[in-house]
């Protein structure tokens, strides 16, 4: 179903006119309100008048995650705090989070694009939406919640955890829609099986999975184990949260809600714009955000764009399922993890760094994050209690910084793989793309 026929099926020429008007207004806003952008435009010799048409976008400065970090916590905000009604946050590259403010208008926009998202997968007011995305600073929980309410569906705000209880609810409350990370969906299926419950026998028919990359094989596995149609969604808190793009029933790419989020694909090294169809880094510009508009945000996600009208009738450009990252960011259980965050924790303990390695694996269905530390003579002691205390201290601090638990494993010296003498910092054994 198409939630907003006018905008989702608008002839592309009209859409581009709308995007251009909105881009001009958004640029004017950031130049007036955000010193960071004033300076970035000045450095390039650009004035507000520089944006005549959409093709001028390519000259505008990029915004990177480092820019967000450098302006921590709210230096990129375009409105005063009294107009801000909510803050969300996601992981930054170091210990500091990326904080994102929202106005009333932003929450309304977000509810609207999430209503479009849910509707695209077939959700209506008759549905019961089991929302197992985490509620809190993470945008997943509240984003889905608002969209489902806007549609008029019944929302069950489960959040994460308490897996057995989730399964009982899925069975007893007649949920028709499951929203969570794809790996948690598989975990639910596994636990249900242990409980002797067949999720295929429940009312579930639609699954909306995102917040982490997942392979086509995983999609098939989820569909066959739970008995629903699995849809991919894409979004990021820096832009809005979930609600940037979604698959329709034809599942031939994810429709980007381009009237609000203007996409480009660039060559990651040079930043040069790439034509439709070519694979590169996705760059997004918000067109209607109020509290924190961003110009040309480097998402780090690799994809390509297809502007052809879809069989569903939407004229919105489609992005292919993301096929990688341009940086070393890991997504573990839906949470962004930067190796530099882990390093910042290890640096606090003498003798731990540089002898460490990050290992991500998916032994069963959920991701395991392990930090291996080579036991050098500097940290080794005959006292087991002190070694265990070190493990515990690192585990606690990693949990504080990352927001997810990591196992700290002490290993013998030289057990960490090195290539050409250089320690390989991250080993990801999961097959999340493809």
């Amino acid at each position: 179903m198409i939630w907003d026929i006018e905008h989702e099926t608008m002839p592309r020429a009209d859409l581009q006119r709308l995007q251009q008007q909105r881009l001009q207004a958004q640029v004017a806003t950031v130049l007036e309100k955000v010193p960071f952008y004033r300076q970035a435009f000045q450095e390039k010799g650009l004035t507000p008048a520089a944006v005549h048409s959409l093709s001028d976008l390519a000259q505008l400065p990029f915004t990177t995650k480092e820019d967000i970090r450098d302006n921590y916590p709210l230096g990129l905000a375009a409105v005063p705090p009294r107009q801000t009604v909510r803050l969300h946050a996601s992981s930054g590259t170091t210990g500091k989070a990326k904080v994102v403010p929202y106005t009333v208008g932003d929450i309304d926009l977000w509810s609207e694009v999430m209503a479009r998202t849910l509707a695209a997968t077939g959700v209506t007011e008759d549905d019961v939406v089991h929302n197992a995305y985490g509620y809190g600073l993470f945008t997943g929980g509240l984003g889905f919640h608002q969209g489902a309410e806007r549609i008029g569906a019944t929302v069950i705000p489960m959040s994460g955890g308490q897996t057995k209880r989730q399964i009982i609810f899925l069975q007893d409350l007649g949920s028709t829609v499951l929203c969570c990370t794809p790996s948690y969906a598989l975990y639910l299926a596994e636990v249900a099986e242990e409980m002797g419950i067949d999720l295929r026998a429940t009312q579930l028919k639609i699954g909306i999975f995102g917040a982490e990359p997942w392979s086509h094989r995983m999609r098939e596995e989820i569909q066959s184990k739970i008995g629903l149609k699995a849809y991919d969604i894409y979004g990021l808190s820096e832009i809005i949260g979930p609600g940037v793009s979604v698959e329709c029933e034809h599942q031939d790419g994810l429709h980007i809600f381009e009237d609000h989020f203007l996409p480009e694909v660039v060559e990651p090294e040079t930043g040069e714009s790439l034509p439709y169809g070519e694979r590169g880094e996705l760059v997004l510009t918000t067109l209607t955000k109020e509290a924190m508009p961003v110009i040309r945000y480097r998402t780090g996600d690799v994809t390509s764009l297809n502007p052809e009208t879809c069989a569903c009738g939407r004229t919105l450009v489609r992005m292919e399922k993301t096929s990688g990252r341009t940086d070393d960011m890991l997504i573990v259980r839906g949470i962004n993890v930067f190796p530099s965050q882990i390093e910042s924790v290890l640096l606090q303990v003498k003798g731990v760094e540089p002898h460490y390695q990050i290992v991500v694996d998916r032994q069963h269905t959920l991701d395991d994050l392990e930090v291996w530390i080579e036991v050098s003579e500097e940290i080794f002691t005959d006292e087991i209690g002190r070694l265990e205390a070190l493990q515990q201290e690192l585990r606690t601090e990693l949990h504080n910084v990352l927001g997810i638990s990591a196992r700290v494993k002490l290993v013998e010296p030289r057990s960490i793989q090195r290539s050409e003498g250089k320690a390989k910092r991250v080993i990801d054994r999961r097959e999340v793309y493809g």
């Binding site: 036991v375 050098s376 003579e377 080794f380 002691t381 005959d382 006292e383 087991i384 070694l387 265990e388 493990q391 494993k409 002490l410 290993v411 013998e412 010296p413 030289r414 057990s415």
Partner: protein, 131 residues
């Protein structure tokens, strides 16, 4: 009397203890006593040897991590109640805590030897009449 014990970090999986013992064999290091303590992830092998320096060398050459610790070495009668009466009871009375201990039998001798890691080395030695 005081004795230097060598502790070695080992991962808790098959073959790691063998790796250590092979290193000792190659370095011609004779073990007088060996004890292995384990946790879920790792173990610590503790050894008493004749030549501490040679042993540490062999451990490092094998790519392993060693630490030396001062422990107490006490001769005990090789008879029922020997360890309790000669060593543990006096230490307990004096409030010295034993963190771990292991014992070995000297070949062809009437006495056995206990190795003890205590929280107060000086006091333990006084109690056992060694100082």
């Amino acid at each position: 009397m005081k004795e230097t014990q060598i502790s070695v970090f080992l991962e808790n999986r098959p073959g790691r203890l063998l790796h250590l013992l092979e290193a000792f064999a190659d370095g011609k290091v004779n073990l007088r006593a060996l004890s292995v303590a384990d946790t879920a992830d790792f173990g610590i092998a503790r050894v008493i040897v004749d030549d501490v320096e040679a042993a540490v060398q062999a451990i490092r050459q094998a790519g392993l991590t060693a630490a030396t610790t001062e422990v107490l070495r006490a001769e005990i009668p090789n008879a029922p109640g020997g360890l309790a009466e000669a060593v543990i009871r006096p230490l307990a009375r004096a409030g010295v805590n034993v963190e771990y201990t292991y014992a070995y039998n000297k070949g062809g001798s009437e006495n056995a030897v206990a190795v003890l890691k205590v929280d107060d080395m000086e006091k333990a030695q006084q109690v056992l009449g060694e100082e």
